[in-house]
């Protein structure tokens, strides 16, 4: 089994990351009752012998777990809070990199200025984290696109990951700003970052804040509703941190828990047993038909588990249907109006192959798949359910609907850029010039065009290409 290193950059990246580590510990605690440091645990944690201070290999008892992580922020606030909270023991100071002034919501400051100043230090910390792994398979980068640090420095780190560790996958979770985002420069930051994501990430999981808000509100409506038969298990929602180390939930915790659960569910079939395993390298391999088209829309179901064990269990088939509902998606765009290039269904818990086949056959007719991938399903069955649920489903769809989000982003970018609003703040930064902007915009344009071309095939009635003829 392999290990992964989580690299969390910026305020948002670290807040989400913090929730990830909390929920990861909670998950391992519920699966690993005997406190053994096993292969599954070692994929995200290393075990340190407290007396000798040395890293232990797999097999013994858990002594002192350390997260396989590198935390970067150009302000001290969020990381400072983590270090004062119950998760502080998970991180050595060697894994942290902070500064004081922040990036002022300026991608250029993050990418160029801090990127240069801290290049060596960042590479050093990444290298140390990698060396502590037996077989490092993947870097998970978590950041937001709208600000300066996560967006700018985060994408600089992405580039460094490709340069220094070319054989290791890069899966990026990117928080996209909604249209109502209050950071004025977020369109600039996002578009500049997107170019890096398109060039250097193996796959990107785009997440919109507004979608997270909507999901949290939906859960709260049910949880605090008046119907007694719809009592929700406190730890059985996709947004709950119940049972984790943190006692008190902070305002964005519910939203960030959803993203944390996304990462746990995505990696579950690589970490735990099942009748149809899905290793991390299989995800990008199956879902990315052309290198740049690697934006995968995540959907999580169920959003909550009912507390009453006598209640009619939420039908399994409903879970599959929900995975294709835009209410369960982590970005806002209707996938059924666009086209599926590929789709992964990663199931956890008490679900069997017949359930999977039945639902694929049932749902398939209503889902538009591209002509050359009509059976474009990647499936996984992991026996271990997530905490608080008896089963769950994560759908990762390579769907052309992402282009709608990108087009909206492009519009917001153009609105600002046309007026040259705030541009000087960026151009003043050493290393930045107008070329960076035009190239980033052009990269986004061609990405949108690639999706457009594929969408165009939907309307066309495609005949099967003629088969090879061989001499009789």
């Amino acid at each position: 089994m392999t290990q992964s290193v989580v690299v969390q950059v910026g305020q948002c990246g670290n807040q989400v990351g913090c929730r990830f580590w909390d929920l990861a510990l909670r998950e391992y605690a519920s699966v690993n009752k005997r406190g053994l440091y096993d292969e599954a645990t070692s994929s995200f944690f290393r075990n340190v012998d407290t007396r000798k201070g040395a890293t232990c290999s797999v097999g013994g008892q858990i002594q002192h777990l350390k997260a396989r992580a590198v935390l970067v922020d150009m302000e001290e606030g969020v990381i400072g809070q983590i270090l004062q909270g119950p998760l502080r023991e998970l991180f050595d100071s060697a894994q942290l990199l902070t500064d004081v002034s922040g990036s002022g919501n300026n991608w250029a400051t993050g990418h160029m200025t801090y990127g240069s100043v801290y290049r060596e230090l960042i590479v050093d910390k990444l290298r140390k984290a990698a060396e502590l792994c037996d077989c490092l398979q993947c870097f998970f980068l978590i950041h937001s696109l709208g600000g300066g640090t996560g967006s700018g420095l985060g994408t600089r780190v992405l580039g460094l990951l490709e340069e220094e560790f070319p054989g290791v996958s890069r899966i990026v979770t990117s928080m996209y700003p909604s249209a109502e985002d209050d950071v004025i420069t977020s369109p600039y930051n996002s578009v500049l970052a997107m170019r890096e994501l398109t060039e250097h990430a193996d796959c990107v999981l785009p997440v919109e804040n507004q979608s997270l808000i909507d999901i949290v509100q939906k859960i709260q409506a049910v949880a605090h509703g008046s119907k007694p038969e719809l009592m929700v298990r406190r730890d059985g929602t996709v947004s709950s941190g119940q049972g984790g180390v943190h006692e008190v939930e902070k305002p964005f915790d519910a939203m960030n828990n959803i993203v944390a659960n996304l990462l746990l569910n995505m990696t579950s079939s690589a970490r735990f047993e099942g009748s149809l395993n899905v290793d991390l390298n299989e995800i990008a391999m199956n879902l990315v038909p052309f290198p740049r088209l690697h934006y995968l829309v995540p959907s999580l179901t169920p959003l909550y588990t009912l507390a009453d064990v006598n209640a009619v269990p939420r039908r399994l088939d409903q879970m599959f249907s929900d995975a294709f509902s835009k209410d369960n998606q982590l970005i806002r765009a209707d996938p059924k109006q666009s086209m599926y290039l590929a789709c992964a269904l990663m199931v956890r818990g008490n679900v069997h192959v017949s359930d999977l086949r039945r639902n694929i056959e049932r749902l398939r007719p209503s889902l538009p798949f591209v002509s050359w991938n009509q059976e474009g399903w990647k499936t996984g069955l992991c026996s271990v359910p997530p905490v608080g649920h008896s089963h769950s489903l994560l759908a990762l769809a390579n769907n052309t609907c992402v282009k709608l989000n990108f087009m909206e982003l492009k519009e917001r970018f153009i609105k600002l850029y046309r007026k040259k609003a705030h541009l000087h703040h960026f151009l003043h930064v050493e290393g930045m010039d107008v070329g960076c902007f035009t190239e980033a915009a052009s990269s986004l344009n061609s990405l949108i065009e690639e999706y457009d071309c594929l969408d165009a095939t939907k309307a066309r009635l495609t005949r099967d290409p003629p088969r090879l003829r061989i001499a009789a």
Partner: protein, 469 residues
């Protein structure tokens, strides 16, 4: 080669007491590759062991155990198997399951795994992992082969949809061919659900089949779709887990591989099952795809209460064969072979499944009274071979896997033509758009390689279509 009348009369139900095994026993070494190969393999050894140890059938038991298991000094049964995977979870699972069963287990050191899988990429399996780990795998196989008195043949078990079973499996088959040039190599393949389990399954299948065709002596295929239907319609299993699917495959394979008397075996259990299977069915290098059907199949709770006649069983099995129905439900009784004279088939093609060769394995009570003449009917075969050459029957008076009577048909016919054509069509559609090709290119498989594989399989498809003419 017909089971001679002379041998039938001298043979009796007292075989169990009076039979003597001459000469060194020949064993089969199995190489399980990837998650599927390791899961199916574990179920197969389970069936073989429990069938071997059932009841007081000493000679049968000895023959079966020797063929598939090594007995340790402490009297424990160790499967003659090597477990290979590029990541450890499936192997661990299979080894644990075997141990927990308590009747047999895998050898302590008979497995090899790495940390990171093949990523569902045939090229990664064939070009990178295979060569990288060739020595380690060959060593494990060699150790297992050396523990056999004599080697009857090698059997690989793998899926075609993923990366390790398909890619590493193909590479290892190549290695085994090189190291054991005079041994038979049987490849057992599991084909994925047509509605899609792995997006790259069609590419991986095409590359596997095209390469294996040059290397294998015989390719025995089970399709997930067919076996799933058997679980659902015949066995009434709900919900169906992969374990259920794998058990059906194990039952069907066991029905072929367990000891039986063959036309060449001179009144005792055949010592050379794989060799005889290959010579019975795969006489022509263009035709290596074998399908398997078993009758009866029913929920295990019904088995003790059911009784069948050989006539009924064989009548159904024959119709299953010619109408290409893969189980004894929904058989189309209207399908008939065309008349022997004037063998003009319509251009549109009938739904009639023409066979090149068939092997029938009958096990259980009154097996010598079973009339197999209907399978020697010239009209169900392509005219190039005489029915006597095309048809073989093996028999064993010992009931198999709790069924009082059971019949397994291994068929080299057009049964797999449709599914194969589907796989090639879907792969070709994807290839036309060049989707995912960069993933294969990165590991050393180019567009050229793909084209070669497509060409090879179009040839196979064309050959099987020609069986009708």
């Amino acid at each position: 080669m017909r089971f001679s009348k002379l041998k039938e009369t001298t043979f009796s139900a007292e075989l169990e007491c009076s039979c003597v095994l001459f000469g060194p026993v020949m064993s089969v070494v199995t190489v399980q590759l990837g998650q599927c190969g390791n899961q199916v393999g574990q179920e197969l050894f389970d069936v073989l062991c429990s069938d071997a140890l059932a009841g007081q059938r000493k000679t049968y038991s000895t023959a079966s155990c020797e063929r598939f298991f090594h007995q340790t000094a402490q009297g424990e049964l160790e499967a003659r198997a090597v477990l290979i995977d590029m990541e450890p979870k499936a192997i661990n699972s299979s080894r644990t399951k075997a141990l927990r069963g308590g009747r047999w287990r895998y050898g302590e050191d008979s497995h090899f795994s790495q940390k990171q899988g093949s990523g569902n990429n045939w090229a990664n399996g064939f070009c990178i992992h295979g060569p990288h780990h060739k020595d380690a795998v060959e060593e494990l196989v060699r150790r297992e082969v050396e523990r056999c008195d004599r080697l009857a043949g090698l059997m690989t078990m793998m899926s075609v949809a993923g990366g390790t079973g398909s890619g590493v499996g193909t590479y290892i088959t190549q290695c085994l061919r090189d190291i054991y040039p005079s041994s038979f190599v049987l490849n057992h393949l599991t084909w994925p659900f047509g509605t899609g389990e792995v997006i790259l399954q069609n590419y991986n299948s095409v590359l596997t089949l095209a390469h294996l065709y040059q290397l294998s002596d015989a390719i025995v295929v089970h399709e997930n779709d067919t076996v799933h239907r058997i679980c659902s319609r015949l066995l009434n299993i709900k919900p169906i887990a992969f374990t259920d699917i794998n058990r059906v495959i194990a039952h069907q394979l066991g029905g072929v591989l367990q000891p039986a008397l063959t036309p060449d075996s001179n009144g005792v259990y055949s010592l050379n099952p794989i060799g005889e299977l290959v010579s019975a069915l795969c006489c022509h290098p263009e035709y290596k795809l074998l399908s398997v059907s078993t009758i009866p199949q029913m929920p295990s709770s019904s088995v003790p209460y059911s009784s069948f006649s050989w006539t009924g069983l064989l009548k159904h099995l024959r119709q299953m064969l010619i109408s290409n129905t893969k189980m004894e439900e929904g058989i189309d009784w209207h399908v008939r072979p065309p008349p022997a004279s004037g063998r003009i088939r319509s251009a549109a093609g009938s739904s009639f499944n023409t066979s090149l060769a068939n092997l029938l394995v009958l096990r259980g009570k009154d097996v010598y009274s079973a009339e197999t003449g209907s399978f020697e009917d010239a009209t169900i075969y392509t005219p190039w071979l005489s029915p006597a050459e095309a048809f073989s029957a093996w028999k064993s008076p010992t009931p198999f896997n709790k069924y009082e009577k059971s019949a397994t048909l291994v068929s080299n016919s057009q049964a797999l033509l449709g599914p194969l054509d589907d796989i090639v069509r879907k792969a070709w559609n994807m290839f036309a758009s060049r989707a995912y090709i960069h993933q294969y290119d990165a590991f050393g498989i180019s567009e050229e390689n793909f084209l070669d594989s497509f060409t090879a399989l179009e040839q196979v498809i064309s050959s099987y279509r020609e069986l009708q003419s």
